[in-house]
Subunit: 214 residues, 2 copies
DNA sequence: CGTCCTATTGAATAACATCAATGAAAGTGG
DNA sequence: CCACTTTCATTGATGTTATTCAATAGGACG
């Protein structure tokens, strides 16, 4: 096998022999507790990472976009569940494949560490979002973070439902909805349709998400 | 104070040439944003990892106990601040030292990855704790998690203040205090003093923290 | 065109935060 | 060792606010 040490190969180009799957929106990619047979990499689309609680409540621990790795578990089982939010494409790296690459390519381990570190930073971010913050702050920060993943444009696309956002921010659907209305009334943004908003006053949005330090 | 059952003699044996620092309670170990000059390992005591927000609110992203690594940053600056909660001892690994070891010992990178993975799992856990949970659930889970770090005993030691617990759970000091009272009234636990409780009904405590899946 | 899912809005409730006061420890200095 | 001060914890009264319950409306899709 020819080694190219380029870990960051452009993610959309399909390498020969690479296994990919296409997952339609709302479909489950894997469930918490299942044997961790694969490492997935999001190539296209948005997926949600979540856990279910005993009483049926769902908590979304994160959304994953292009380039994110999923299923990296130290133990033998997945630690969370993942569903596609939009139609998505993922590269599937079999467990054996990953282990082989780890042996062959020393740089790969470093790559995994870097990715895990990024995930950790994101998780810390989430903790800041959830703790002791008013709904407006949460939603404002959510929108700002989402913007960073897309073009830093006036128009912002929200692939997920209000319900997903609520599960992500630790709020109810209704509160999220009301908060959007509130932001509309304040002239911060304009709803184009259910999944697209236009940011009218970025400075104010930033102000509402005050305390953002990262 | 009773110091019987002391089996912590060997695990913290000091390696020759190892640099250690002793930090008294409440003292800062490092601050967010400072150049990340060192990697710390907690050998004794409890420290809190936190971030300050613009308006002065503090969010504790985690407590770290023996064996935890602190200051692992991909970028050149610390990503959070750390204070000692109790008098603590930490091993200091200089940045150059870490890099040298990474070159010399291939297994060390794997070790760092594993530790980072553990941290990530803990962070995910925190996210579950913060999202959409009633104060009783939060406090119950907090106590159960704390118990896992100590002997699984009837007696539980809380090294941190109520204020710290509040900043950790996304509540106010008063609510935390009231929740403890509530747990006392329900016969779940008994306060021995400000920093020690005795668990009287573990089953009920587990029930109150329902939804714990990990 | 009708059905289902999602989003929005309204009204009432419950719950956590806030404000305020007291009490209990812990630390400080004579 | 004891007053004094400071910090921390608890409890009560009050207010705010997000949730809950409920109804309507808007989109998506067969």
């Amino acid at each position: 096998m020819r080694e190219n040490n380029n870990n960051m190969a452009s993610p959309d180009r399909k390498a020969p022999g690479e296994r990919r799957i296409r997952v339609p929106a709302k479909e489950t990619i894997f469930l918490e507790g299942e044997p961790a047979a694969n490492l997935f990499e999001v190539v296209e689309g948005v997926v949600k990472i979540y856990k279910m609680m005993a009483d049926g409540r769902t908590i979304i621990t994160g959304f994953a976009y292009k380039r994110s790795l999923l299923g990296l578990a130290r133990s033998g089982n997945y630690y969370y569940s993942v569903d596609a939010v939009t139609d998505s494409t993922l590269v599937v790296h079999g467990k054996a494949e990953v282990e082989a690459r780890l042996r062959a390519d020393p740089g790969y381990l470093q790559y995994l560490l870097d990715e895990t570190n990024d995930e950790l930073v994101q998780a810390q971010d989430r903790i800041l979002l959830l703790g002791r913050r008013a709904p407006v702050e949460k939603v404002a920060l959510f929108l700002l973070r989402l913007r960073q993943w897309q073009s830093e444009d006036r128009k912002l696309h929200l692939p997920m439902t209000r319900h997903d956002i609520a599960d992500y921010l630790g709020l109810t659907t209704e509160t999220v909805s009301r908060t959007f209305t509130q932001l509309r009334d304040k002239g911060v943004l304009k709803s184009l349709n259910q999944h697209d908003v236009e940011i009218l006053d970025l400075a104010l949005l930033r102000h509402l998400g005050e305390g953002e330090d990262s």
